[in-house]
């Protein structure tokens, strides 16, 4: 299958290049650790929790969702660079599958994300986070779908915006409401009714809610199936849109 080998080639290209970027690797590993080190003590105080472990059980899954979101939105910046350096054209003029050109690098970035997540889980475990293996595995699937959705959105938006400043404005403009309405760090149930209503239009909200349930091992909870019910079709739609943008990208 041509599409599979093309995806493999694009995966390999992205993977090799990222491995040659030690700064990026360092930031990738350290940022989840920083979240844990700098945010947990605050929460501990705020929630008057019995132990660090209890705090982490509630908030750590949200941090994993947040990392998936960040790693997804970062993809578009790479796309802008590749647009300007002619890489996008160079790839688009080959007969390689447009879907493969889109998905190969996303899959590679996802692999790195999982690696950073594993480091984060290990550190959280050290702080007392209680690991529910089954829950974490399903959570890995959920944040994978979410990360693919955000990546494809980010890449397609970058191809449409073309300029780094326009793309950065759109991304930053959307980041803040997306993060605040999702209740990544502080649960949205603390907020007034209107916020809880608006949050239902934020995909990240479903991921965070699902992640908390899965972290606690509650597979059957409504938050979990709702998260998949929202994310899987959304991912399909965004991937289809992004592929079509790649097909007719005007640079």
């Amino acid at each position: 299958m041509r599409i599979v080998s093309d995806t493999g080639l694009m995966f390999q290209r992205h993977f090799t290049q990222q491995m040659r970027n030690p700064t990026w690797l360092f930031v990738g590993i350290s940022s989840p650790v920083l979240y844990l080190a700098l945010f947990t003590p605050l929460l501990e105080h705020f929630t008057r929790a019995a132990s660090t472990g209890v705090v982490l059980d509630t908030f750590f899954p949200g941090i994993l969702a947040l990392l998936a979101f960040a790693s997804g939105t970062a993809q578009g910046f790479g796309t802008i660079f590749e647009l300007r350096s002619g890489v996008v054209e160079r790839l688009r003029v080959t007969p390689a599958s447009r879907f493969a050109i889109l998905v190969g690098p996303i899959a590679s970035a996802m692999t790195f994300m999982y690696f950073f997540d594993v480091v984060a889980v290990a550190v959280a475990y050290g702080f007392g986070f209680e690991i529910n293996w089954g829950g974490l595995l399903v959570l890995a699937v959920l944040i994978g779908v979410f990360m693919a959705t955000v990546s494809a959105w980010s890449v397609a938006t970058a191809l449409t915006m073309k300029e780094i400043d326009r793309f950065a404005s759109v991304t930053n403009g959307l980041n803040l409401p997306t993060l605040l309405l999702a209740g990544v760090l502080l649960p949205i149930s603390f907020g007034p009714t209107w916020m809880r209503v608006v949050a239902h239009f934020d995909p990240l909200y479903y991921v965070v809610e699902g992640a908390r349930s899965l972290g606690a091992g509650a597979f059957g909870s409504s938050e979990v199936w709702q998260a998949f019910a929202v994310l899987v079709p959304l991912c399909g739609l965004v991937l289809a849109w992004a592929t079509s943008v790649f097909k007719k990208a005007v640079a």
Binding site: R2, R13, Q17, G86, V93, P95, V250
Partner: protein, 325 residues
Amino acid sequence: MEAVITAEGLRKSFRHRKAVVEAVKDVSLEVGRGEIFGFLGPNGAGKTTTLRMLTTLLPIDAGTANLAGFDVTREPKQVRQRIGYVSQAGGADDMSTGWENLILQGRLYGGDLDSVRTQAKELAAVLDLTEFADRKVMTYSGGQRRRLDLALGLVHQPEVLFLDEPTTGLDPLNRANLWNHIRAIQERGLTVFLTTHYLDEADALCDRLTIMDHGSIVAEGTPRELKREVVGDSVMLGLNDDLVERASGLLRAEAFIRKIGAEDGGLRLYVDDGSAALPELLRVLDRHQIALKSISLSEPTLDDVFLQYTGRSLRDAGGLREEKV
């Protein structure tokens, strides 16, 4: 001559802040197999847009294009397999080595690893890349990088190679070097289609060229034909003032002279082909014993051609401005 590229009535317009800009209006062309064909014109003439339509990168608004027997709109995959395209920006990966870039590109065209490796090695030898191909691209000089870009466009052994402004930003030495490499590519049997805003480049490289301005083709032919269509070659005869009148009367009768006029210090003549006209001219003057102080021949430049067809010099049209990156 077998045509490898034919385009009929190509059009493309863009929407820019509600205004519609016609980037390409009704471009038709035919390129024969094995030719180096050039698009000469200032920035914004529609050269790159036309190129991007021919290479399947941009949907065609109206008109048809056929490449190596395949329709660009209906059979883009077959077209892509048969063409190479080197954009202005190049597109090699900085963080990868020359070899890695070449092998990835060959593999994306569906080649298996062994044959792609063989092909990459051969190309590296032809384009003088072997010495540095195992270094990361970020360490390359402008000329080295450009040669790698060429190799990237050739690694799948296409029939046609498209080059968008191949020497922009290179110093004179590297430009001449790249020209030699482009000629060497042609000798391997490829058709080369290039755009340029450099007159000397079009002159030095192209077998045939079209001049584009404001989205339309304004002239087409070999560089020689185009230059001759304009004014022919010009010959300056240095004469004593008292001889000018007589010489002018005599030469006016000669069929090979297209135009004649007095200038400071002698006569300016326009002829179709300077090298053929000079001996003839000297014979006539000698027969009538007109003593010549000096004689000089100058060929018209493509700038004269551009001026003739557009009413502006290419320099004024912005052709020689540095590209914004």
